[in-house]
């Protein structure tokens, strides 16, 4: 036993020793929203990185965000400009972004132009100049923009071996001086194999502008990052007033699931529909309301939101078709006030129609609104409008993206009502164009039927994942109170789902809305 204890102690002390010997790599924030998550926490300190991509994809803006996020007078950033874009030009444009802080220029962020040394001398002189500046400033961050220009200029006079030696010496020097380095350059993907720079680099961030039909979207990939697990794949990026913003593919999936235990049933604001649904929608469910244009999907969605507001819950409406004003006006026609809750912050109406939208951006906007309002109910009106707002390249992945988005939002305990427009067929009753019913817990189908020379409306609860529900096809009307489901019919019909039913009983029911007599 004693021997065993001694061995255990030895192993424990070995484990402690190896734990304490393990180097802790500090991670620097990028200053780019969403990018730290993609990188697995941030940029590893003292790493030697490449920011590569085609012109106009945001490389310099990214470098500036990194610099402004990390530079301090004690650990300044040294920004070497080369040919092409001198500091003055950069400052002119970069000061338009919100991250730009002119107070940092001079002491915390210093620019140095390498153009003359590069043009008039050789790589040794360039390295000597970098060494001199770095030695005198002791920067925490070093950027060379564009490093590609340095190399391209040098290829005329230096051999490939000399170029490799230059890169090697530069990397060794900057890392030894405890600088985190970013070499910015316009590279093509085909160069990855042969360029020694990519072998030496610890991190390789690749930025793209992808053109498809008339749309252009920006994307980013972490091709390489030593020492930590980054999120693989292409992530959407957008350049806005705050500079670059990245939308990780894992957006929303990393959050905690909050739906557990017994879930409440939420009222739709239409008592008869709640009864049809077995008491209402289960909290955290995703409900799809499918039907052709004019059947009252948006009216039903508005009632669902208004009911939540009545019960003190916050809510979000993500609109992709109708403008918010039209929505608010219609609600007002039903006696539902959406203006006041918007003014008090209980309701946010998001009108998401930027050019070339991605699902991730829409999800980020919704998640931000949830964070701000604490919303428990969300309406997406409509999925088709959402799809139309997406850049063509994102439409291909719409179903997967939507699945991810709905899973993330319902996982956060939000109950979602999405509307889907479907065309009425007079032989079948399709649920939607996308076969997306797999991503929804509950489905309500609305449709037109022809009865007694009138086009009337019926609805049915097709699916309730969380319990039993009514199988009745119920007629409803849209009045000044919104969607109103009328009482069960006395007259029996068959073939209602085809849209042209046949009466199989006596005519007992009067028309729910007056028929013309003249």
């Amino acid at each position: 036993m004693k021997k065993q204890n001694a061995a255990a102690k030895r192993n424990a002390s070995k484990a402690n020793a190896s734990e304490s010997a393990k180097v802790a790599i500090r991670q620097l924030p990028t200053g780019v929203r969403g990018l730290d998550e993609i990188l697995g926490g941030g940029i590893p300190e003292f790493s030697f990185n490449i920011i590569a991509g085609t012109p106009g994809c945001g490389k310099t803006t990214l470098a500036h965000q990194l610099v402004f996020a990390n530079a301090t007078p004690q650990k300044p950033a040294l920004y070497f400009t080369v040919l092409g874009e001198p500091a003055m030009k950069m400052l002119r444009y970069q000061q338009q972004f919100s991250f730009f802080d002119e107070a940092k220029l001079g002491k915390a962020i210093r620019f140095f132009n390498l153009a003359e040394v590069l043009v008039e001398q050789d790589l040794d002189a360039v390295l000597a100049e970098i060494v001199e500046q770095v030695t005198s400033v002791s920067p925490g961050i070093v950027v060379v923009d564009s490093f590609r220009t340095v190399m391209r200029n040098a290829t005329n006079t230096a051999s490939e071996a000399e170029l490799q030696v230059f890169i090697q010496r530069l990397a060794q020097f900057l890392t030894s001086w405890e600088a985190t380095t970013f070499l910015v350059g316009e590279y093509a993907e085909s160069e990855i194999k042969d360029n020694p720079l990519f072998t030496i680099a610890d991190g390789l961030l690749w930025l793209w502008q992808v053109t498809e039909r008339n749309s252009v979207v920006r994307k980013m990939q972490v091709m390489k990052l030593r020492g930590q697990a980054s999120v693989p794949g292409l992530h959407t990026i957008r350049i806005g007033d705050n500079g670059l913003q990245a939308f990780p593919r894992t957006l929303g999936l990393m959050g905690k699931k909050t739906t557990s235990g017994r879930r409440r049933r939420l009222s739709t604001g239409i008592p008869e529909l709640d009864t049809m649904m077995g008491g209402g929608i289960l909290e955290g469910d995703s409900l799809i309301v499918a039907g052709p244009s004019g059947t009252g999907k948006s009216a039903l969605a508005t009632q669902f939101i208004a009911e939540g507001l009545r019960q003190g819950e916050s809510a979000i409406m993500a609109l992709f078709e109708e403008r918010p004003q039209g929505y608010t006006d219609r609600a007002s026609g039903f006696g539902l006030d959406l203006k006041k809750p918007q003014a008090t912050g209980k309701l946010e109406v998001l009108y998401l129609r930027p050019l070339d939208l991605s699902v991730d951006e829409a999800m980020q906007a919704i998640l931000d609104a949830i964070e701000r309002t604490g919303a428990r109910r969300l309406v997406i009106d409509s999925l088709m409008g959402f799809e139309m707002a997406l850049a063509p390249g994102f439409r291909t992945d719409f179903r997967e993206s939507l699945y991810r988005m709905i899973a993330a939002l319902t996982g956060a305990g939000v109950t979602i009502l999405s509307t889907v427009e479907v065309e009425d067929s007079f032989t079948a009753m399709p649920l939607s164009h996308y076969a997306i019913s797999f991503l929804t817990d509950d489905i309500i189908r609305m449709r037109y039927v022809e009865i007694d020379g009138q086009i009337r409306k019926v609805m049915v609860v097709m699916k309730m994942r969380g319990g039993n529900h009514s199988k009745d096809i119920r007629e409803y009307v849209i009045t000044d109170e919104g969607v109103v489901i009328i009482g069960p019919r006395e007259t029996d019909y068959t073939g209602l789902t085809t849209g042209i039913p046949t009466r199989v009983g006596k005519r007992e029911d009067p028309a729910p809305e007056t028929k013309a007599t003249k």
């Binding site: 500091a87 000061q95 003359e116």
Partner: protein, 134 residues
């Protein structure tokens, strides 16, 4: 902007303890700003900026038309012993030159960064003088 330029020239003359009313005094301010501007724009960019400044100022003060930007980035003026110019005109030319140079900087990098650059060059310039509007 001309008032600001005049203050800068006066400050530079006081700092240099120079009462020289000649061309070198008129060019002293742009010369002092050379390092900072070259850091931001490169030597080539600095030279281009001075050439534009000279072109703009030369249309207001004629003797500046006989000035040029040297390869080293310094302004070279006419020889006043050969081409005499009224001392007031020389001062006026200096002010115009500085005003145009500062104006260009403001157009490119904005007022705040231009003032920051000026402060870097003349750290002792009183804060009240760092204002384009007085």
């Amino acid at each position: 902007m001309r008032e600001f330029a005049a203050r800068l020239m006066a400050h530079e003359a006081a700092a240099a303890r120079s009462a020289d009313p000649g061309v070198s005094a008129a060019f002293a301010v742009p010369d002092r700003m050379r390092t900072q501007i070259a850091t931001l724009a490169g030597n080539g960019g600095h030279r281009a900026l001075l050439m534009r400044t000279l072109a703009l100022a030369g249309s207001e003060v004629s003797w500046l038309k006989n000035s040029r930007v040297g390869a080293d980035g310094h302004l070279k003026g006419p020889n006043l012993s050969v081409v005499p110019v009224d001392p007031d005109e020389v001062t006026k030319g200096g002010i115009e030159l500085v005003a145009q140079l500062i104006g260009l900087l403001v157009a490119f990098i904005g007022e705040r960064l231009t003032l920051q650059l000026v402060r870097e060059v003349w750290p002792k310039l009183p804060a009240k003088d760092l204002n384009f509007n007085i």
